[in-house]
Amino acid sequence: MSVKHLKTLGWYLFLTGIGYVFLFPLLFMLVSSLKPEQAIFADLYSIRAILPVGELSLDNYRQVFEKSNVSLYFWNSLFITVGTVIMGLFVNSLLAFTLSRMSWRGQKLVLAVVIALMIIPLEAIVVPLLLLASKLPSIGWEGGMLVLKSSWLNTLHVQMLPFVANSFFIFLFYQFFRDIPKDFDEAAELDGATPFQIYRHIIVPMSGPVFATVAILHFLLMWNQYIWPIMAVQGEDARPLMPGIQIFFGRQSSWGEIMAYASLVTLPVLAVFLMFQKKFVTSLAGAGIKG
């Protein structure tokens, strides 16, 4: 074997070692979720801790479904996330379109404000947002009747609407749209196309990458929401997954069950990630380099 081959092999070994550091907590979680409590502890200090060996079963998962309303939380999370992402893609790209491809009075000011708002982190406003949400009236569904509720708390939409418009995503759209050559829409405009038609038929089809980027970032943001739902949502009806697993964990359930719950929460996102991993990776990298 030549020196070059040895060097390559060395690189692979080194990378694999580091890869293990990044992977083993996940492997441990997935593997432990299949084992009975005693086996988790018995296998702890050997390589068996991350290998699916021994007596494996889905018992822990069954227990989780029995003890916690996981499927409800899952659908809540999915609804909140997908709903917000779809609304967000639409709303944010529309504003970015007017900022980047139309000219109107006050445009510069609005752009400056949007960029300035990027600095306000969610954390800085959750406390007052709670008071605001408690005072906004809404319509609810109770026992087959439409009822007027005096607040937004404990609803699905309180977890969605505040997070639809996002200045960072508007900015990402703005940057992308700005760099598309103007010739296309000028031609269309001369042909009598309305601004919305230009948006719909020229800009959107050319902006696949930025839509993918924003969709992915927004998805991760919404799926992993924690601080807001623990404040704004107390009842079970509208509870998403993250508070759900935290409550399960806080009850000191058995570790096998906790790992099963953790796996349940992680696997869907992991699956989506593995399916679209190339897109994922280029999107995120692109978002960073431009911002």
Binding site: Y12, L15, I18, G19, F22, L23, P25, L26, F28, Y45, A49, F90, V91, L94, L95, F97, L99, M102, W104, L117, I119, P121, L122, E123, A124, I125, V127, P128, L129, L130, L131, L132, L161, F163, A165, S167, D191, P195, R200, L220, N224, Y226, I227, I230, I245, Q246, A262, T266, V269, L270, F273, Q277, F280, V281, A285, G286, A287, G288, I289, G291
Partner: protein, 367 residues
Amino acid sequence: MEPKSVTRLQPDIQEQKPRRRYVFLMSTPALLGLFMFLVIPFFMAVGMSFTDQRLLSPNETSWVGLRNYDRLLNVSGMVQEPVRDEAGQLVLDGDGQVEYPRLRTLLRSDPAMADYKLFSSWDLGEKRYIVLAKDPHFIQSFINTLLFVLLVVPLQCGLALALALLINRQLRGIFLYRTVFFSPVVTSIVVVSIVWSFLYHKDLGLFNHYLQAMSFGLIGPIDWLGDPAWSMPSIVIMSAWQAAGVQMLIFLAGLQGISPDLYEAADLDGAGPWSKFWHITLPGLRNTVVFVVISTTIQAFGLFTQVDVMTQGGPQGSTSTVMYHAVTKGFREQDIAYGSAISVIFFLVILGIALFQKRLFDSKGDK
């Protein structure tokens, strides 16, 4: 839609009106969202921070001026002389230690000082130096947050850069490693915190086991989350591990934007790897580094989830953060005016740091 070109319409005055309507229709939803859920709450926070508004109380809300800010930020100091008997000799306590007058009695007896509490004290020579604060817990939370930021930003960014350099090479299957390094990012931080609570456990945790095995029993066991000295570093390590993947990708994109010609030229000059890193890679990544450092810093300041899941601010307040204090006071203890004041301070600090970092990097970049 197929643009059918028949007549050329001149963009004239008549067209301006419908166009304005389109601008209005297309921009309003997002602007309304930002206004309702970002701008209004922000100004509500500012307004409320001057009141004694509670989340729910039968008592009336009233203006209290700067009281909340005074409580949060007021820090004072004093120096105590030891107790001496009539002859001027030092009075020693049971353990042979110099005795000082009880601070609490002193503070409570003076109405001007009654709001102050002990934050920290040192005995130096024959004097005791005391730092007082009106909300020592907030000061501690603030220092903890700064500590977290100072530890996690270099660690996470450094780790991300190292990983990016590692996988920025032509090896077959390298994308597999990229996927692996990135996988913690798609695992929610709540899940990561729960799984790591187990790995960090003093007696059962795998980390202590590995540590002891690798050091032949010399190191450990460390009470990662239970020892006030280790709890924050533990959260730092976990947070950096979880999030570094994002910055790794950003660095990777930055690296791939550096022209290979530069490296080839350096090779011809006989430059070593270090020299290439310092003179080509780092300058080439300048914008990327600015972005990564600022965004990581802002994110780090908002530390809440890990603390809420793993330690609830403990042990002994060693992992309480600004946001954790804000949620505890503003939501759990219902003092929403106080929580708002913390939010305002939090925002000002973020703003200050972002501007400071931007300026720092800008001036460094000027040649």
